[in-house]
Symmetry: C2
Subunit: 428 residues, 2 copies
């Protein structure tokens, strides 16, 4: 009977066949121990009969050999939740003749990235991708359960909304240049009028010449938008969503978190209510911690992390100065210099979610567009949304890779995506 390694717990004592790869081997001369994976899990195959055909095959197997192994599932003698396979037959699909490039020795990041197609097989990289899967799936599940409709935003967009310096462009037939989207938000706003609550989830692109631990040229972004939601309700949805994601990762990916040596307590602390602080007050806290206060500025990377680390759970930093935020954010009625927005910061990491209430007044929005030096004609369709039944609405965006980087506590965002694209990396 062919089974997945993850289902060994239900097959103790039974004779089963697995199909997978041998990624490690120890042999004492009398016993061969084969470390096997099949994509669902890992196990140890034990081959004891020195005179058997299986033992002979086991002796000859090289790293990454693809095999079909038949044996009896047994409990690991020492570890309660571990199982082994007492092997009696091995069929070989391919025993590699060339040495597997990613051996036990340490490799530099450039070598590993050059071999990303092989590196993805490693225990750690597979664990990251499984956690990424859970994060993506639980976001979609969360929205599906709450009556959101998915509205994929276009990648090809006609205007360079905020200057062309960080945009990739393509020649688009007779229409001139098309730019690759940096956010689907404006399109989500259009969709709420027919569907109430919507989200998108797709790749976005940034041609930024930044080479930091937080930058990719291509990454996945989720934008949600909700009619009749003010900024308070908006933050409540974000909190509920984030708690749900972390819950699901803890529920489904404990083995992967162990592989990654993730501090699980930090994840278990992610429970509502999250902290809230006004941008103004955040600068006061930073000043107390020795930073030079710049009440009307955005935070730098160091300041953001220092601030995030002052809290034991995620924190919403609210009401940034209008000047440092996008044109579409609604002004705070109690202080016209600030907007009804919040960035959500994570301890040890910084910002992962940005959200705001949107300006819903036609004339004020038009003024904001002009103030930001944007062309009215480029936004005529967006302005239409404030002409025909405008409503209070808000939304937010979450960068998937930044979230995965935090969930897995990775040193660099590049491991959070299957095939990272950086300014100097386009392959494999």
């Amino acid at each position: 009977m062919s089974v997945a390694i993850k289902d060994f717990k239900d097959n103790v004592g039974k004779s089963v066949t697995i199909q997978g790869w041998m990624f490690n081997k120890r042999s004492s001369g009398k016993v061969a121990f084969l470390e096997l994976r099949d994509g669902s899990g890992e196990t140890q195959g034990v081959v004891v009969q020195v005179s058997s055909e299986a033992f002979k095959i086991a002796q000859e197997l090289n790293l990454e050999a693809s095999v079909e192994v038949t044996g009896t599932v047994s409990r690991h003698p020492k570890f309660k939740d571990k199982f082994e396979l007492q092997v009696f037959a091995i069929k070989v699909f391919q025993n590699p003749t060339e040495e597997y490039p990613i051996g036990k020795k340490e490799h530099g990041p450039e070598f590993l990235l050059d071999n990303r197609h092989l590196w993805l097989r490693s225990r750690r990289q597979a664990a990251i991708q499984k956690i990424r899967h859970t994060a993506m799936y639980s976001i979609m599940d969360f929205f599906d359960k709450r009556g959101f409709t998915r509205i994929d935003a276009p990648i090809f967009t006609p205007n360079a909304c905020e200057g062309t310096t960080t945009l990739f462009s393509v020649d688009y037939f007779d229409e001139g240049k098309a730019y690759l989207s940096q956010s689907g938000q404006l399109y989500q706003e259009a969709a709420i009028f027919g569907l109430g609550k919507v989200y998108d989830f797709g790749p976005v692109f940034r041609a930024e010449k930044s080479k930091t631990r937080r930058h990719l040229t291509e990454f996945w972004m989720m934008d949600a938008e909700m009619a009749f939601h003010d900024q308070k309700m908006n933050m409540d949805v974000q909190e509920a969503m984030f708690v749900y994601i972390v819950e699901k990762v803890l529920e489904k990916n404990m083995p992967e978190l162990v592989v990654l040596e993730r501090n699980v307590e930090e994840l278990q602390r992610v429970k509502g209510p999250f902290h809230h602080i006004k941008h103004k007050d955040a600068w006061k806290k930073l000043a107390d911690a020795g930073f030079a206060p710049r009440e009307n500025d955005d935070f730098g990377a160091d300041e953001e992390i220092a601030l995030a680390n002052m809290f034991d759970r995620p924190v919403f930093v609210e009401n940034y100065p209008a000047g440092v935020k996008a044109f579409y954010m609604k002004r705070d009625p109690s202080d016209d210099s600030r907007v009804l927005c919040a960035d959500m910061l994570l301890p040890g990491y910084g910002e992962v979610i940005g959200g705001s209430q949107r300006e819903d007044d036609y004339n004020i929005l038009l003024g904001c567009i002009k103030d930001h030096g944007l062309k009215e004609s480029d936004f005529s369709w967006y302005l239409d949304l404030r002409k025909y039944g405008s409503v209070p609405h808000s939304g937010f965006g979450i960068g998937l890779e930044r979230m995965v980087t935090w969930l897995c506590a990775l040193p660099h965002v590049r491991e959070s995506i299957p095939f990272p694209r950086l300014i100097n990396r386009l392959r494999p």
Copy 2:
């Protein structure tokens, strides 16, 4: 109490408040009937008290006015599953002063596409998007339940694998040109070695100068890939997935199918086992129907539809000639001129899924690459997968918009995606 219109059935006799838009109005002088939507559903608001403030407001409302309406939920006098709102208060967010551009009169497709940001509010367009949502979600749900890991493929790819004529390109820093992906399949193949069963789901791009009912320049594609699956197992997964999608649409979207006047019986017929026919035999059937047989050619659009319509359910057309298919497909061991593949055709529509077993032998694959005039160096990473533990594997791709077009029985693929991109359309 604020409720969603879809939940009226649970609130009969109760006083509730809804927030939404008025998209139609009838008034007899004594009674005003307001047709209201909130994104979750539609209802009729009945205002009877001529002397009331609510009646006065109702009289003045223009199409697409955004409102908060309070009243009592009642059963529709004639229709069992319909509910109304006996209105006693209306609060207006915005009563449009300009006439809503999409009125009751017929509009041409170009006008509607120019106003896609408003057109999406229409009952029919919202219904399509809800069905698209169900299709996407149920695909992801299907794979999640079966232990697949999502592996997003990159959009930026380094090589123009099969010529550059249908590829969009961007300038990529010092790396030269990057091409926008047409398929994530090759990347999925790399990922099975660590994760066993994987899928991607993202936008792909085709710079084809085709202006047909079936072409978009940007559309969503799902690619699945499975280690240790032969072509037979591959088709079984496709069938199970497709049955699941249709089941979910029938379960969740009956109101939308009614709006679209979809022939539901055609969907209900989608049950396994699907039909199977060899490509060779399909040509014989076509010959019987009067088509000129071209046993070693692909089908034209007319032939494909004629063939699909010979079956009452989806049909797998198997074993195409190698010459009309991609280089990576595994040759049929019993007939070297054909490959282990199948396209799945839908009655009334044609192809929506293409799948195959992949060539897993290094030398044969290298030969195929050369035979197709491709550069070995462009595929060195892909060839690596056949060097280090190669396994039999197969997979398939499904075009989301084609599937949605069929599910909704749309005349043109352009309505199946929120913001369609065609060779002459890049906005809004």
